[in-house]
């Protein structure tokens, strides 16, 4: 189907099913139950899963295929967000032109940075991209938000004000990002017994985009172009000796992944019309690297899983506080309850960084191939197959 082989088609279908049914899958616990804390099926987080999934898929096209480790991809996401918000400010709240422009601008920006940075390889390339991104962040945070020339609105973040022109905005259209009148915030809530599920217009827009770009990523992975990129990773020198200039290929990969990042940034602004400079900081660039490695570098689905993993911790674990813990363990005798809460306390709420750090270490120590390898091992174990045999049809590493 769609020019994919059977394996890839089924992978695409699985991803489609997962994203479309996410409101059900992510809300397994009845509302009001103690476990509802772990529900992730509310619009904002679902949008984030998908948006960062797109970001990581794009990053993986560069890093997973060519092995070029960019430490500055957040800059493209940030630039995408800024362009989208500028469209909102100047023209219209309709998200399509905003998203389109964010992809284009991020593409151009990545062409510029990629052209310079790809003159070097290895860690020298990483530091060049880091340097560009940090410069973008620093400038966006302060210099480009000075009163005379306010491009980014600095610390506060670029947002839409009532006195912005919005030339194509008409009365009757929502005063929020919308798709031809359908507000990105509109949510239909389905109550089924004790459960409730949110179906959010913005989420489904992101989900559709995710499926499209995931399909594109599969096509890239399976194309001769993708093969060429893998060749760059395994031995660039040998390729160069055969008289082939690999630079156009790596640059194309860099720009494509930059456009994915811009798309993610545009979607982020479309879901929530504010663009802050922190999106471009090195920690944000580092986050997408972590997502990709954590999920499984060079695999198709890995980056999406890694993105979900990190965003889940950031949004769910940081919200568990001692009160919630006491609620969970109320059935224990008083002394025991306090003891258990005291044990768990350092790892939740303000300690979610600690938990995340520990999990990074555990995953990378025990699952060198990331979460995808974990999934494979689990599957092999369920099927009772020996550990060494790699029979996964779902994914394959780049090398």
């Amino acid at each position: 189907m769609l020019g994919l082989n059977k394996k890839d088609t089924s992978l695409l279908l699985v991803v489609a099913a997962l994203t479309l049914l996410a409101p059900f899958i992510l809300n397994p616990f009845p509302e009001g139950s103690a476990m509802a804390q772990f529900n992730a099926g509310y619009p904002d987080l679902m949008q984030r899963f998908v948006i960062f999934g797109i970001f990581a898929i794009g990053f993986n096209i560069l890093f997973g295929l060519t092995g070029y480790l960019s430490f500055g991809h957040a800059a493209f996401l940030g630039v995408g967000s800024y362009s989208a918000v500028w469209i909102f400010k100047l023209f219209t709240y309709n998200v399509l032109p905003a998203i389109a422009l964010s992809v284009v601008v991020a593409g151009l920006f990545s062409l510029l940075i990629g052209f310079v940075s790809l003159r070097r390889s290895g860690i020298y390339f990483s530091i060049l991209t880091l340097a560009f991104a940090q410069m973008s962040f620093a400038l966006a945070y302060s210099v480009l938000s000075n009163p005379r020339f306010n491009l980014t609105n600095g610390e506060t973040g670029l947002q839409v004000y009532a006195d912005d022109p919005q030339w194509f905005h008409r009365d009757g259209l929502p005063d929020l990002p919308h798709l031809f009148g359908l507000s990105m915030r509109s949510t239909y809530r389905l109550d089924l017994g004790a459960w409730s599920f949110d179906f959010n217009a913005g989420y489904y827009l992101c989900a559709v985009v995710l499926m499209v770009v995931f399909y594109l990523a599969i096509r890239i992975f399976r194309s001769p172009f993708g093969m060429m990129l893998r060749a760059v990773k395994s031995n660039q020198q040998r390729m160069n000796y055969t008289g082939l200039n690999s630079r156009p290929y790596t640059l194309a990969a860099f720009v494509i992944s930059g456009m994915y990042a811009g798309l993610a940034g545009g979607l982020m602004a479309a879901m929530d019309p504010l663009a802050g400079a922190e999106r471009m900081q090195w920690t944000a660039s580092g986050e997408v690297v972590l997502m990709t490695i954590l999920g499984g570098t060079g695999t198709l689905i890995g980056p999406v899983l890694g993105a979900g993993f990190i965003k889940y911790f950031e949004n769910i674990f940081s919200k568990i506080n001692d009160n919630v813990l006491h609620g969970w363990f109320a059935f224990l005798p008083d002394g025991m309850e306090d003891f258990v809460v005291a044990i768990i306390h350092p790892f939740i709420g303000k300690g979610w960084h600690l938990t995340l750090g520990l999990l990074f270490m555990l995953v990378v120590i025990f699952l060198p191939g990331g979460l995808v390898e974990g999934g494979q091992r689990l599957r092999n174990w369920v099927r009772g197959k020996p550990k060494t045999e790699n029979t996964s049809g779902k994914t394959e590493p780049a090398e």
Binding site: D44, L96, Y141, K319
Partner: protein
């Protein structure tokens, strides 16, 4: 590719349907059965406490959270009632809010606009919070305030000192109890004049982002009106950790006052560096060189240690205030946690009470009703003397404290001493003050 076409056509179709039936979308919204966003229907009501729990302001956030927990306890009738006993409005009965038990959810802003908005959204979308409060920086406050306006919930700002929060970025659903850079300037100026005279030469070091500029601007306006000369104003990157290369040029600039428009870690380091370079012991033309830190916080003063001694600044509130409200709050906070509350804790506690009281007086959780009850609200007994929530910009007007680092602290909390309580009349400014221009409060948004 064929699937692209399909997508586009489907999208167009969706658009057409949505465009044709604009009356329809009520069924698309979660709140269709409710009168406003997250209308509490059960026996309890949920508030969202969104404070920094990681990154540089985690300690402020932790103190804010303590204050919120205390406020919830008091609202639900627990503890000694704290400031509820001294509050001039007697609408709160200690039986929750409108008879509903107060519950809360917490989140981590990470002092990043994006993370703060994500956290606030999860409180609104997932937990059904009807009010969001907290934060320890202006960027976050403004970002979350905008979100709450769009979502149709009330935002009671925590620590935010930038003029923009109730200036350029003011919102009908957002309320600020904390003071701002303009008030810092007008409160500090007379004290500076009385202590340092009218012909000083000031050198500014300013954190290079919105708040820093705002602070520098206010202090310059007021000190230049006194007759001070501004020798130089240097912007320092927010990420700076070592200020030696910014401090060194001060030595031979001819300036005799250094103004540090810094907050948090920036302030601790720049002040430490300034003292290292001997600025506090320096003489310029027979006069002592002076350092000023316009915005003080006790937690940060603690980080700066001995270096704060004798240095002037302003603060929103301090635990050593002797009015009944402050005393009551310090007592219940101190007895529960063992140390006095910070100004961030005070603001957060007061904001929670003010919200609850406004709901009681309005008789509804509807943000529009609450906003109306808060607008133009005159009250007393929550520290800082008689206070007004101005209707036009949702800024609180109250006494501002001028403090200085204490020479002989008796404990690790006793770091600042109150030099003067600047009366409210002196720090009031017109609604159309140029530093606050350009904003639009808009209409209150109940979300449904």
């Amino acid at each position: 590719m064929s699937n692209n076409d399909v997508t586009r056509r489907r999208v167009l179709k969706t658009g057409a349907v949505a465009g044709a039936g604009l009356a329809l979308p009520t069924i698309f919204t979660a709140q269709s059965v409710r009168a406003f966003t997250n209308e509490p229907t059960g026996s309890s009501v949920k508030l969202g406490f969104n404070v920094p729990q990681t990154n540089a302001y985690a300690d402020e956030g932790a103190d804010e959270l303590r204050a919120y927990e205390l406020a919830v306890e008091h609202l639900n009738g627990g503890g000694d009632g704290g400031m509820m006993n001294t509050f001039s409005s007697k609408a709160l009965k200690g039986n929750g809010i409108l008879g509903k038990k107060v519950e809360f959810v917490t989140g981590d802003t990470q002092t990043k606009s994006d993370a703060a908005r994500a956290s606030a959204k999860s409180m609104i979308e997932k937990d059904g919070a009807v009010m969001i409060t907290g934060g320890s920086s202006s960027g976050v406050a403004i970002a979350v305030q905008g979100l709450c306006q769009d979502a149709g919930v009330i935002f009671m700002a925590g620590l935010t000192h930038s003029n923009d929060t109730t200036g350029k970025d003011k919102k009908a659903n957002g309320f600020r109890h904390f003071f701002n850079t303009e008030m810092s300037g007008s409160a500090l100026a007379p004290i500076l004049e009385a202590n340092y005279g009218k012909d000083r030469r000031a050198y500014h070091l300013t954190a290079d982002y919105t708040w820093g500029w705002s602070q520098e601007n206010s202090i310059r306006n007021y000190t230049e009106a006194l007759g001070w000369e501004t020798v130089n104003a240097v912007k320092t990157p927010l990420a700076t950790t070592d200020f030696s290369s910014y401090i060194a040029p001060v030595l031979n600039s001819g300036a005799d006052v250094l103004v540090l428009n810094h907050y948090g870690g920036n302030m601790v380091n720049s002040l430490t560096n300034a003292v290292q370079f001997g600025l506090r012991d320096k003489q310029v033309e027979g006069r002592n060189f002076e350092i000023i830190v316009p915005l003080y916080s006790r937690l940060m003063a603690r980080g700066a240690g001995e270096n704060v001694k004798g240095i002037f600044g302003s603060t929103n509130w301090h635990w050593s205030l002797s009015d009944a409200g402050s005393q009551a709050f310090v007592k219940s906070f101190g007895e529960k946690y063992g140390f006095p509350p910070s100004q961030a804790a005070h603001t957060c506690y007061v904001q929670t009470l003010l919200y609850a009281d406004a709901v009681e007086r309005a008789g509804t959780f509807n943000p529009c009703g609450v906003a109306e009850a808060l607008e133009g609200f005159d009250f007393d007994g929550l520290g800082n003397g008689p206070t007004l929530y101005r209707a036009e910009d949702h800024q609180c007007f109250k006494d501002v404290l001028v403090v200085k680092g204490k020479e002989n602290p008796t404990s690790e909390f006793d770091l600042l001493e109150i030099v003067e309580v600047t009366p409210r009349a002196q720090v009031e400014y017109a609604v159309d003050h140029p530093d606050f221009a350009g904003g639009d409060l808009g209409q209150c948004n109940p979300g449904a």
